[in-house]
Symmetry: C2
Subunit: 432 residues, 2 copies
């Protein structure tokens, strides 16, 4: 057997994901020859500080100068796992201009500047793959772009943030409150010191923008996504949800409707027997509905060194196969439509509200009148507890227009009989 | 815009799946131009009887002569959805020799003759794709071959037969017995008039052979798969399983162990909180474990006109993209190892046994002695009911060697105190 060809690769960044990629490519080195007919070798790793200790990473591969990678004509694939907007964006664009293919796990960047990156890839006939940017190790980008390409996809729904799913699981199963569960997530390394991007739904929103763009063939950027986090979810909300046979999950929802694309991230009550309700801890799952395939679901680890590394390496192998067959650029941007994005206030939802009211005659009638006057029909209203002149009402609405709900809430908030609207959480309803 | 290139396609067979493929390709005709830069057109359909009424299928496309397709140099892709071993096998081999790419949904054929088909594809530098052969619409072949290619995959486990899962669901949730549930499945079109291939686990066994071959990079044929069906599962078994917090599912199991490949299909008790336990009715799900990605699961419809059609069309699109980029044969056979297959008697399992015994002193001790003498350690033994000198015992063993269990059972069957061994069902245990 002749010496196999070598395909040389550079890593930009060697944090959690980069380390995973390095480990996988090292231990799969011999297998690769059989899988793709070539060796994959990491020859350079870009880091900010070459002096930092990195156990298991050979110091001679490290460079702090991007030009070392850019100007090395033997490097064909650049793996961007440094994260953040800049310099990642510039590095990727430069890599394309220098004839290199790029694998990226950078959801922040792709959800904002996907169009520009794709155009640069296309101009230079290079591959740009990013399976790891959404739902970590779970294969979802390739299934959407390839396996399900015969479908008109109408809905993508998922639990795409492991941190918040871990927190909600602990609140549900162990009765923790949000603060306790967040602290535990931070101690276990599931949440960062500044947990904003996770707990406010921003991270999930970026992933939904990327998936919606691919599923519906129209460019959705992060700014198109309505996001609402889980910081206001209380133990009471979770208990009441349970009484109704539901769990509360932070869901990403993207729908292609006749009136435009809906894409949003917010907490939702979901029936406990729904497949997504059983996704626990830091696991992720993505539900996809297509006109031919019906319902499908993809489940696995949405983050972590090795699962995310697995997705990156899958992309690297794909590009290596393209290099071997001379067909790079085979699957580029698939956004060939321009579909408008629906405003959040034009969406229809069922709502769960928890309202603290004065416990006196006529209160219920007054509240019901506000809803009625604003075309919000009520499915259920229950008085949960009454102490010292104060009562707690739980209201479940039918599927109504968000705008009408917002109008109702604004009026309710101005009424003296209402002490506080403690929660407003949307409720998942099956489409007819 | 110039007139898009046309890629011409022929269908072999237009039964359930073929009709689905025709419908999808027809309604996606305009979209295809954007997705692959070419039109996909079905120009010929091979049928046995041209006279038969086929609503929605244009009669002018029909031919009963395979040579019409083979000798048409404009047809680049042949979609084999006729099923069965012959003439499907010969037609596919001939198609390759005539320079055509092939998509097949034929699990029977691939599980037996996969090697020969792949070799013919490779010799002729043609594509051979078969996503639809396993788990219908669920993307699983491409994820295994591509997305998870950076992993050393160690386990594939799944519910890959919708008919039996429907029957077991009805037995579990509606208290039906096997016969009633089978009858209902037949009335709903989920089971065929001769249900043998489904209820005896043969269909699932073929799918496991195909997935094991891909996951472990070694050729597994159907004859390597141990199969056991669900015809002996009784309402009592399901009730006792429930008492133990378990459901009974027909599971396909493939493992790459240091002693060789295990690949088998049989009923199993699985904890009700396991993700596969919540797969109901005719849905399928495949669980995959890789050293990098950890646990992943793929869920959806495992059969039916449109779901299976979706998988076929995904493959056709893939081949069309390869044609556009001149890189057919890009991913061929990935069986580059030769790993032995373990004998079923050398596998280790935990077992659930339901035994009818004479209800008299010493019986338990005698039975326990048989197990003990054969290295079968018992985790639990419960006497369930005793009437008229007869008692029912339920025995759960630890994880023991199948051979030792078989020896024990043979001895027990010869003992006068034992009236009947009503059930022997394996129990799913998490590996340590």
């Amino acid at each position: 057997m002749e010496t196999p060809k070598k395909i040389k690769v550079a890593l930009l960044g060697v944090g959690t994901v980069g380390t995973g990629v390095y480990k996988i490519l090292t231990r799969q080195r011999e297998e690769m020859v059989h899988k793709i007919g070539a060796e994959l070798e990491i020859v350079k790793i870009l880091v900010r500080d070459r002096k930092k200790e990195r156990p298991g990473i050979p110091a001679e591969l490290l460079t702090d100068c991007f030009a070392d990678i850019l100007d090395d004509p033997e490097i064909q694939i650049v793996i961007e796992v440094m994260g953040g907007m800049e310099p990642a964006r510039t590095y990727i664009l430069e890599a394309f201009r220098h004839g290199k293919h790029v694998v990226s796990a950078n959801k922040d960047l792709i959800a904002n500047d996907g169009k520009e990156l794709f155009e640069a890839a296309q101009e230079n006939h290079r591959d740009f793959l990013f399976e790891a940017a959404v739902a970590g190790g779970i294969p979802i980008i390739r299934p959407l772009k390839q396996c399900l390409a015969g479908n008109n996809l109408t809905e993508v729904m998922g639990i795409v943030n492991g941190t918040t799913n871990f927190i909600l699981t602990k609140m549900t199963e162990n009765g923790m409150d949000f603060g306790e569960a967040l602290k535990m997530a931070q101690e276990l390394g599931y949440a960062e010191a500044d947990p904003t991007a996770d707990v406010e739904g921003l991270d999930a929103g970026r992933k939904m923008a990327i998936m919606a763009s691919i599923a519906f063939h129209t460019r959705i950027t992060f700014s198109d996504v309505y996001t609402e986090g889980i910081t206001k979810i209380s133990a009471d909300d979770i208990r009441y949800a349970k009484e109704m046979g539901c769990d509360i999950k932070l869901l990403g929802l993207a729908k292609n409707t006749p009136e435009g694309i809906e894409v949003r991230v917010h907490p939702m009550l979901i029936p406990s027997n729904h497949a997504l309700a059983s996704v626990r801890d830091s696991f992720n799952a993505v539900f996809v509905h297509g006109d031919a395939v019906g319902d499908t679901m993809f489940y696995g680890r949405g983050a972590g060194e090795m699962p995310t590394g697995s997705a990156v390496v899958g992309d690297v192998i794909d590009i290596a196969r393209n290099i071997q067959y001379g067909c790079n650029g085979r699957i580029g941007c698939t956004c060939y439509k321009e579909i408008p994005v629906k405003k959040m206030e034009d969406t229809f939802n069922s709502y769960f509200l928890r309202i603290q009211v004065q416990n006196r005659p006529g209160v219920l009638a007054n509240i019901a009148a506000v809803f009625g006057n604003n075309q919000v029909s009520i499915a259920q209203i229950v008085q949960k507890k009454a102490v010292k002149g104060r009562a707690e009402l739980v209201v479940i609405t039918d599927c109504v227009c968000e705008k009408n709900m917002r109008d109702s809430v604004m009026i309710l908030e101005g009424m003296s009989i209402i002490q506080e609207i403690s929660s407003i959480i949307r409720v998942y309803t099956e489409e007819e």
